[in-house]
């Protein structure tokens, strides 16, 4: 008999409670510190050579959100790889959630970056910036993941195609990260160079808190989405008292219905 293809476990890899506490504490804190503690830096020349200093504050969320998007894509790819190795539908759901959260964060990166570019460069987008093009390619690649996934009927074939797609796309992450360092035209601001950091102490502290906060937030979002998907696919496994199932091990038979 063909084994049932459905996720079996709901155990979270990282405590969702810890991720929630870190995200709730650190993300607002980074915004407060960005305005109250970090000094205004002068990076970016705007239209007609006018320097726009204050919009640089966007950086304190723009870059951490971008790093969190990279991490979510990498998590999606890692779980896709685990699916290919172990043929466990649980990894397929986790891979899907990672890519989904990565695309959500990627959208925010593009939006906040465009807002900053309008203030600093005077344009919403610069087609000559390698960093922007590589990130846009990465974003559109993973956006196409959903087109692929939902064009295939649920089951092993869909999970395998999705996993391969997510693994292939992750190669763009280091390329995107390195693009501004290998490009000839350094239009995009580079904060950490081979010569060291361009940030002062308070700027570093604020930035680091933002990175930690958005990493925790992305982990929380992935885990919540995984829990929602698992619960939707195995409705009768959920406890009647409304308790979230992400911390508990499944005790019943997996569903025969499709997931994610």
């Amino acid at each position: 008999m063909q084994p049932v293809f459905a996720p079996r476990t709901t155990r979270a890899r990282v405590s969702p409670r810890l991720a929630a506490i870190l995200a709730i504490a650190l993300v607002p804190l980074s915004a407060i510190l960005a305005f109250a503690w970090a000094p205004i830096a002068t990076i970016g020349l705007g239209e007609h050579g006018v320097q726009y200093d204050f919009p640089q504050k966007v950086f304190y969320w723009h870059v951490p959100v971008a790093l969190a998007a990279y991490a979510a894509f990498a998590a999606g790819a890692w779980n896709g790889l685990l699916y290919l190795l172990k043929d466990d539908a649980d990894y397929d759901v986790r891979s899907y959630a990672g890519v989904h959260v990565g695309v959500v964060f990627g959208t925010l990166v593009l939006l906040t970056g465009s807002i900053w570019a309008k203030a600093a460069w005077g344009v919403w987008w610069n087609w000559g910036d390698t960093q922007l093009l590589v990130f846009l390619t990465l974003y559109l690649f993973y956006a196409a993941y959903f087109v692929l996934r939902f064009s295939i009927d649920p089951g092993r074939a869909r999970a395998k195609a999705s996993a391969v797609f997510s693994v292939v796309g992750v190669a763009l992450v280091p390329l995107s990260f390195m693009a501004i360092r290998i490009a000839d035209t350094l239009i995009h601001p580079v904060v950490i160079t081979s010569d060291g950091s361009r940030l002062t102490g308070p700027m570093w502290g604020t930035f680091a808190i933002g990175v930690l906060g958005f990493f925790a937030l992305s982990m929380l979002m992935v885990q919540l989405e995984v829990a929602a998907k698992l619960r939707a696919s195995r409705g009768w496994c959920a406890s009647d008292d409304g308790e979230s199932s992400i911390d508990s091990e499944s005790r019943s038979e997996p569903a025969t219905v499709a997931h994610a």
Partner: protein, 45 residues
């Protein structure tokens, strides 16, 4: 008020708005109890 404060407010506002909407949707999904909504499917197990 600093020059360009509108850009900063828009950027931070968009991020907060997106995260709040996303959380509202996903927590709404988790709060719904499919065990009750799906009538008796699998209950007899």
């Amino acid at each position: 008020m600093h020059d360009g404060w509108e850009s900063v407010a828009a950027a931070y506002g968009i991020v907060v708005f997106a995260i709040v909407v996303w959380m509202w949707m996903i927590l709404g999904k988790l709060r719904r109890n499919p065990a009750r909504e799906r009538s008796t499917i699998g209950r007899e197990r």
